[in-house]
Amino acid sequence: MEYGAFEEKVRRTVYIDNLSPNVTEAVLRTAIDQFGTVKSIQFIPNYLGPNNLPQCALVEMKEDKEAKAVISVMTQFPFMMSGMPRPVRARAAEMEMFDDRPKKPGKEMQLRWLNPNDPDFQVANKLKYLVQNHTAESAVMLKKQLIEEEELSKKQGEALKANYKKYEMLDGVIGDETALQLARHYRKK
C-alpha cells in the first residue's frame, strides 16, 4: 500500500478499546454500522500485556468524517457494548497502531555497533538499563490500573445491588398495597 493511501486510511480509522472479551467482530461491526460504513475491523492482538486486558480494535470507516463522528459521539456519550456500565473508548487511530504499514519514503536506517572499548559504550549500557526499567514501570502502572478498575467495578456492583434492592422494595410495597394503605392513612393520593 502506498504511503499516502495509508495515511488516508489512518485518518479514516477509529481506535476503540475497553472492549469486553465478548465483543466479536460481528458485534463491533453491528454497533459501529450505526455511524456509517465499516470497511474493516482488526482486533489488536495482545502479545505482551497481562491476559486480562480489555480488547482493543481498529475500525476502518469508509470516510474520515464517519470516523470523526464515531469518536465524537463516543466521547460525549458513554457507549455500551455487550454489557454495562463500562463504556468503550474511541480515539483517532495512529500510524503505529497498525501492523501492516508501508515504509515511509525517504527514511533511512543507520546502524552502528559499539564494542566495549568505545567511549559511548557505558552510556549505551545505561540507556539499555533504562529501557528495561521503563518497561517494568509500565507493567507496574498497568497492574495498578487494572486493580483500580476492579475496585471500581466492585464498588459499582454493590451500588447496583443496593439500588436494585431499593427498587424491589418500592415495587413490593406498591404491589402489596402497603403504599396505598399508607397513602389513605395520610389522606394523600
Partner: protein, 520 residues
C-alpha cells in the same frame, strides 16, 4: 465458497420441489395458479391430504387438511389449510367431553383458527387422519384403519361458537364436508399407505422434539380473519419466556393480546434476526448459514440474508489471505504460509522467539527484518508490536522469529556484549519473551449483571447473540456508573501521560550524559 458447498446449501434451502397437475388459474389474477398436487422433499402431497406443519412457538406440530394449493404472482407457494385442533388447544371449551388420546377436532364455523394460508416450507410430512364419525355422509372406516391411524376425529369444533359439535355442517370454509370425511374407494386414492405415514411420523416426531429445543424455523402464518391478517413471527425464545403465541382457537380470550404482542415481536424480530444472522455468520460461516435462511420469514429477505452471509464470509476469508501474502512479499517466500499467530505459537514453543525493544516506534516490520539481517547476519521474520492507548510513544517493540534456539542465544549475547545503536543513540535491547494467550474465560471487569438475570442473560445471549450496543441515556443509573468509568479512564490517561513524560526526561538526561562523555 466452493461450488460443491453452494450446491448442497441450495439443496438444503430448496428441498426438491415439483408441481403436479395444474388445476386452474385464478379468476381475478391470471398469475395465480392452483394445483392438485406437488412433490416436496421427496413426498408427494395431494389436495385434501392431511399434513403436519411445524409451527414455531408450539412444541407440537399442527395438523391440517390441504384444501387449496397455489402459487401466487410473487412465486410464493402456499397451501390453504383447514386445521385439526388438538384437545389441548381447546381445553377451555371441552366441557364434559373426554377426548381419546389421539383424537382431534376438525375446525369449522367461522372465525380465527379455522384455516390458514401456510407457506409450503413449513410442511413436515403427511399425517393419517381417519374420521370415525357415524355421520351418514362419512364412509365408515374399518376398525383396523382406525387402529392404524395417526389421529382420528369424531366431532368438529366450531371456532365461532367455541363449541364441540357432533353434527357436521355441509361445508367448512367453503369446502364440501365430504372432502373432510374418509375417502370413498372410488375417489382419488388415499394419499399414502399407512406404513409410509408411520415412517413420516417417526421422522417428524424426531424433528418436533428437536424443534422444541434447537431448531430454528421462522414462520409466517397469515391467518384468515375478518380483521387484517396478523403477521405473527416467533423468535427463538426459551419456553419459559412466556411469549409463546398459540395461533389456534384456544386463546380466543387473549385474542387482542396476541395481536398486540405480535406487533411488538415484529419490531423485535427485525433487529434480532439481523443481529443473530450476522453473529451466526461470524462464528460458523458455512454450517449456520442454514439457520439464517430459516430465520427470515420472506423469500426475498432469504435472498438478502444469503447474500449478506456470503459477503461476510468472503470478507473474513479475504482478510486472512491478505495478511499472509503481504508477509510473503516481505520474506521472500521461504517460510511456510501459516498464519502469523500460529507461527508465533510454534516459535515460542521451540524457543525461537525474541523480543527487540527500544526501536523507533515508526519502524515497520520489514525494516526490523532488514536490520537484523544486516547487523546479525540472520534471516528472520519480524513484526512490530502494535501500539495501543498505553504503549509508550517513545519505544517501539518487535517480535522476531529466528531459525533456531541457538540463533536466539547468539543474538542475545551479541546484542549484550556489544551495543547495536540506532540512529539517534538508541541501543537495541533483546530478550526472550513469553507470548500471552488471551484469556477469554476471564470475565470483563466493569460489566455488571444482576445475579438474577445473569444465568438467563448468558443463555439468551449465547442463543440469540444479540449485541446490546447503545449510548447510555443521562437519566439512567447506568449513566451514572458509566460516568464513573469515564472518570477513571480519564484519570488513567493522565497517569500514563505523566509516566511517559517522566521517562522521556530520564532518557534525555541519560543522553546528555552520553554527550558529556563523548566531549570529555
Amino acid at each position: 465458497m466452493s461450488h460443491l458447498e453452494k450446491e448442497s446449501r441450495s439443496r438444503e434451502e430448496n428441498p426438491q420441489f415439483k408441481w403436479g397437475i395444474l388445476k386452474a388459474l385464478g379468476q381475478n389474477n391470471k398469475n395465480v395458479k392452483f394445483y392438485e398436487s406437488f412433490t416436496y422433499d421427496g413426498v408427494e402431497y395431494f389436495l385434501y391430504d392431511c399434513v403436519y406443519f411445524n409451527i414455531q412457538g408450539s412444541p407440537e406440530t399442527s395438523i391440517g387438511k390441504i384444501v387449496k394449493i397455489y402459487e401466487n404472482s410473487t412465486s410464493e407457494k402456499r397451501v390453504k389449510v383447514v386445521w385439526f385442533l388438538r384437545p389441548t388447544e381447546i381445553r377451555n371449551h371441552l366441557g364434559d367431553y373426554v377426548p381419546c388420546w389421539n383424537e382431534l377436532f376438525l375446525a369449522s364455523g367461522e372465525g380465527v383458527g379455522l384455516s390458514s394460508l401456510v407457506l409450503l416450507k413449513f410442511i413436515a410430512g403427511k399425517c393419517n387422519v381417519v374420521c370415525a364419525s357415524h355421520d351418514h355422509r362419512n364412509p365408515q372406516a374399518s376398525k383396523a384403519a382406525i387402529r392404524m391411524a395417526d389421529y382420528i376425529f369424531h366431532c368438529t369444533f366450531d371456532v365461532g361458537k367455541l363449541a364441540i359439535l357432533e353434527t357436521f355442517p355441509d361445508n367448512i370454509d367453503g369446502v364440501k364436508v365430504e372432502y373432510f370425511f374418509n375417502r370413498r374407494i372410488d375417489q382419488k386414492p388415499i394419499s399414502a399407505p399407512n406404513p409410509k405415514a408411520k415412517v413420516d411420523r417417526t421422522a417428524i416426531s424426531g424433528l418436533s422434539s428437536k424443534s422444541g429445543v434447537n431448531k430454528v424455523i421462522g414462520t409466517t402464518i397469515k391467518k384468515e380473519s375478518t380483521k387484517d391478517a396478523v403477521n405473527v413471527s416467533e423468535l427463538k425464545h426459551p419456553p419459559d419466556k412466556s411469549i409463546s403465541l398459540k395461533l389456534k382457537a384456544s386463546s380466543h380470550d387473549n385474542g387482542t393480546g396476541t395481536a398486540r404482542s405480535s406487533q411488538c415481536l415484529d419490531k423485535l424480530e427485525a433487529k434480532v434476526c439481523k443481529d443473530s444472522s450476522t453473529r451466526a455468520t461470524n462464528v460458523h460461516p458455512y454450517k449456520k448459514r442454514k439457520f439464517i435462511m430459516d430465520e427470515e420469514s420472506d423469500s426475498e429477505s432469504d435472498k438478502e440474508a444469503a447474500q449478506l452471509a456470503e459477503d461476510k464470509a468472503i470478507k473474513t476469508k479475504g482478510q486472512l489471505m491478505k495478511v499472509t501474502s503481504s508477509l510473503d512479499a516481505n520474506r521472500g517466500n521461504w517460510f511456510h504460509k501459516l498464519p502469523w499467530e500460529q507461527r508465533l505459537q510454534t516459535a515460542q514453543e521451540s524457543g525461537t522467539l525474541l523480543l527487540l525493544e527500544n526501536l523507533d516506534p515508526s519502524f515497520i516490520s520489514a525494516e526490523v527484518q532488514d536490520l537484523v539481517r544486516d547487523a546479525l547476519k540472520m534471516r528472520v521474520e519480524a513484526k512490530m508490536v502494535q501500539q495501543t492507548a498505553f504503549s509508550s510513544p517513545y519505544y517501539g517493540k518487535a517480535l522476531v522469529i529466528l531459525q533456531s534456539k541457538k540463533e536466539v542465544e547468539l543474538a542475545i549475547s551479541k546484542l549484550e556484549e556489544n551495543c547495536l545503536m540506532l540512529a539517534n543513540g538508541r541501543p537495541i535491547v533483546a530478550s526472550k519473551v513469553e507470548i500471552e494467550k488471551p484469556n477469554k474465560q476471564a470475565g470483563f471487569v466493569g460489566h455488571l449483571l444482576l445475579d438474577k438475570f445473569r444465568v438467563q442473560r448468558q443463555n439468551q445471549e449465547r442463543k440469540k447473540a444479540v449485541s446490546t450496543s447503545h449510548c447510555s441515556q443521562p437519566n439512567t443509573f447506568e449513566y451514572d456508573l458509566a460516568m464513573e468509568w469515564c472518570m477513571l479512564q480519564e484519570k488513567s490517561d493522565l497517569w500514563w501521560k505523566a509516566l511517559y513524560e517522566e521517562q522521556a526526561k530520564e532518557i534525555e538526561v541519560s543522553k546528555q550524559l552520553k554527550m558529556i562523555s563523548t566531549i570529555s
